[in-house]
Homo-oligomer: 147 residues x 10
């Protein structure tokens, strides 16, 4: 049973049993963003978290074990994503990439925003012209140092 | 004078004259995020905005005219960015892409977050463990419709 | 059973049972264009639509369930399609891409034609010199906004 | 003077002199779609057409001559376009490519829609929910023949 | 049973039963060039042709049905072929591509040679210095038209 | 002066002076196919041929010398050609590549058709349904040998 | 059983039964270079050779038959090889490619070294500073001819 | 003056002054293989060698200096070479890559043939059936070591 | 059982039986760096090493045999790695590649650091600001030689 | 003057004036590793550092200014490097990538080695069997955190 097959099984079971990602997250007392990433094979669960979710989703032992192993990360099949929803985020990087770079350097100097010491919050923003997706990203600034 | 040369000239002049992106944005009463994108060749300025910024940055007429033409967008030289700061955003898409997809579909159904009807706010978030980059993105949800 | 296998099964069953895409579309009272896309794994059916078509095509429960899950979209195996029929559409984008861009910007200003709020109608156009394929596309114009 | 430089010069002169693509098309009594493609280096003008437009746009002799030479076609710098407007058309091919294929084969049998014996009409479709881009494509169906 | 598996089965059965492509072609009264392409999954057979060849090659019903479905064309696993025989043809396109273009445009004007309304004849050309492969290609010229 | 610039200069001069490729070929008593390839930077001219054509096309000494140097061959800017005329030949390789392979192996055994000991003849084939492009290719068969 | 599976089976059986490539080559009275290439799916064996080796390696009939079919050649999974030993040869092409070209043209004129009418000998060259790999390649020179 | 321009200048001057690579090699008492590679920007000359060759080829001081700087190596413009002569060597790697690997491992165990501690000799091998190119490569075997 | 499946089985068994890489390394008296690489399919074990580890990990005979065969090396699925930990090393090559080159050439002259005669030591470096990863690489310098 | 031209100018001037990277580093009291990276366009200098080095290398004002601007990082022209010295580092990532991953996770848990809070020391390691390149890398471990 490969890690990909574990991911597919989780999506199937979640769908068959009618859980939402939020409910699964609540069961282990974590954010829905982090929990979803973990169940999709991008983060590592503790033994306890894996067993709680494994029981809820009726996963075989093998799958529960794999959720505790650090995965080979990267969730997309191609370098440029083909799915329209995910492509829009890639487009933001492509169009606004140099803008991110200029503004972060203006505010902080040379360095990067960490994608590891990072958290994210995604919610619905009601709007009379059509509701909006609201995403807040927060990543530690890491400066390059000279030595 | 190609559009790329206009972009390079702007960066040079801004640096030589000591402006920040925020100051340039304030001069045309727009956000620093949108203004930076526009000056880096990703958005289109009005005649008035172009002339105000052209005068501040001492640009030739040709460059000022080009800022009013809709550009061929895309600010990166390669499909996978090599610059570490910009790569971190690509990594977020790569690692969290399917998470974005699952959570937006859970909240909204099938559709996308618009990258056009979209705004962004980037600021410093003070933190005793090291300051953080805080980015808020807001994009209209667009549902697929059946017909 | 992966989504791809569901798609292949549908094509097989449709062929074996002698249905046309138009007949399947009529059964759920939708256009043949949208219905075909949905059955080929690009759109999401409602429970009722999935069950109607599942019964007609004699699909297993698993497949019927998958038709109600938002798919990872993108129907082609390579970035540049090899099938001659599909390539001709890619060629249109390659040859006329900048023409589309100039004419839409001339008419509407900076923005895009939505590929989400979008519909399409494909029909035969009789012509004494050989019949023609006639495709009408209609997509909402979405302007970039400054902020 | 390369063909690319001719294209850039035309865009510059058109902008400087305030012409629209429609006005240029009217001057040679052709559609705006075909004329724009020709001036962007994708189609070949006759001597008369080239001279009429060359005079209007104040082009040097060299450029006017090049407009009469069959160009190496293909208007985009990368296999997957980065410009959001043009990308949306690529996305349509990616998402609806197999739908186009199935429906054309259902209606016509094995063959293709010609991208050569082809015409196109692009116009604004007023809509209270936001105006729409309406594109009609008409291409001759070419059947494969056995021999 | 995927289309690829049908192709592999045909090659195996043909080899096991000792048929040549020419014999298979004669059985359906078509050229060996077209028949080979069809059996390799690039063209579509009629019901009668499929059944004749299916019986000769002892194919299962499933395979015989698939030969009547329009295939997703493209017979090579990579954009640049690795097989030396097939690569030589790619090399001809690479080295002589612009020569083809110049000579066809000199003779016919702007347009293409159809790859659909096309036939081919491949035969041995005896030569004392070593026999030669002789290939005759004939494709309809399709002019671009202005509109 | 690079080889590419020599090629561009030749195309310009030929066009400005009104020569056809056939006339240039006749002047050095070679086929139009080989002569065009040589002038487009794919073959090597002798001193005498280079000087004859250099005089006709009014080329500088530098260019005439370069025509006698073995060039780095390959006339296309991308691995998959974007020009529709040249693409159709690539499509033939893609669709008929395995057919070429099977039929040549059936006739000759394991080996290749030479792309070096090769000649080609391209002509117009009148046809009441629209004239056709007729291309005859002749390449020596080279068998693999065991040792 | 695909050709790849035949290759894997041969490597396994050879290893399990303790044969060297040289011993297998001797059994059919051919060089170890050619025999290894043939058994790895790059050359075609005669019926007699296939049966001799098939018996030695205890292959099923199916595999023995496939060794007599002309294979789709190309033994590497990626365009740039990742295996360090094989990469070194690719590096030689990359670094010395233009040197090969210049020296062969200096000695022979315009043409190529055949990779078909070609043989190779690989042996150990004892050296007090560390033994060396010695490879001799011999390929027929094929001149381009004008026509 | 970039390194590429130095290379081009050397080829031009060599051609204009009628030197062969062998004559240039003799002047610095090195093999023609190594000398050609060095002059094509793949190896580094000593001050004395650079000055001797610089004087013979009448190079500017700048170019003579650059020949003494370690170059960024790699002499081909694309990952898969388009020039037929150079491609044949790439084809050898592609077809015989796994054969090289098996035979070197059989003779030496796990390790590689060095492409650095390496020499090469290229000569004409007369043959009544057409002369042959003979290349001898000699590279030190470097074993992987465990630690 | 392919080599990849052997690798996956080892990771599974190691995890199920609770071994660390260090413990496995100690059992064959080698460094943890080399042992891990060998078990992940990048190095070759001796018969004795393979049997020791095979027994510890309860591997089938087939797997134990494969660990003694020289593998096709390369441990990553894509040219640019998607896993953030591995990407950081690729980023170091991308950002510091030319720095490595300049400093090694300054110290040693033209040549390379061997990746074959190479060893590595990876350890934790305690640091009050957060522990650090400390990697020491040692590779033999191999000079290019002229000949 | 682009950033690339600044880099080339620095290499030229350093060579012409006979400085080593170590001497330049000493002048600004930084390590040779960091200083070389900065002068090759990968790090940002302070005003004082830029002026000190600008004076030593006799750079124009423009270049000195650019050294203080945060650069678009990435020092290699292709995704897979062609230069043999730099390729060896890429090979290490390719062959040992999963080993790095396993060992770092074993020691630290899920997370990465920072490529930003990172330092490096490169020196010669004398060895009777041939001197070795010794590289010590030290990067802060950054754990993923759940939230």
């Amino acid at each position: 049973m490969t890690r990909n097959e574990v991911t597919e099984l989780i999506i199937l079971q979640k769908s068959a049993m009618g859980f939402t990602w939020s409910e699964l997250a609540k069961a282990i007392d974590k954010s829905k963003e982090w929990t979803t990433a973990a169940l999709l094979g991008q983060m590592t669960l503790t033994k306890e978290q894996a067993e709680t979710l494994g029981t809820m989703l009726n996963l075989p032992v093998d799958a529960t074990t794999q959720l505790q192993v650090v995965p080979y990360k990267g969730s997309l099949p191609t370098a440029v994503p083909t799915d329209p929803l995910i492509y829009r985020f890639y487009e933001l990087v492509n169009v606004y990439g140099t803008t991110f770079k200029e503004l972060i350097h203006e505010e902080f100097g040379d360095g990067i925003m960490s994608a590891i010491d990072f958290s994210m919050d995604l919610k619905r923003e009601p709007d009379p012209l059509g509701d909006r997706v609201n995403i807040v990203m927060s990543g530690k600034f890491l400066p390059y140092k000279s030595y």
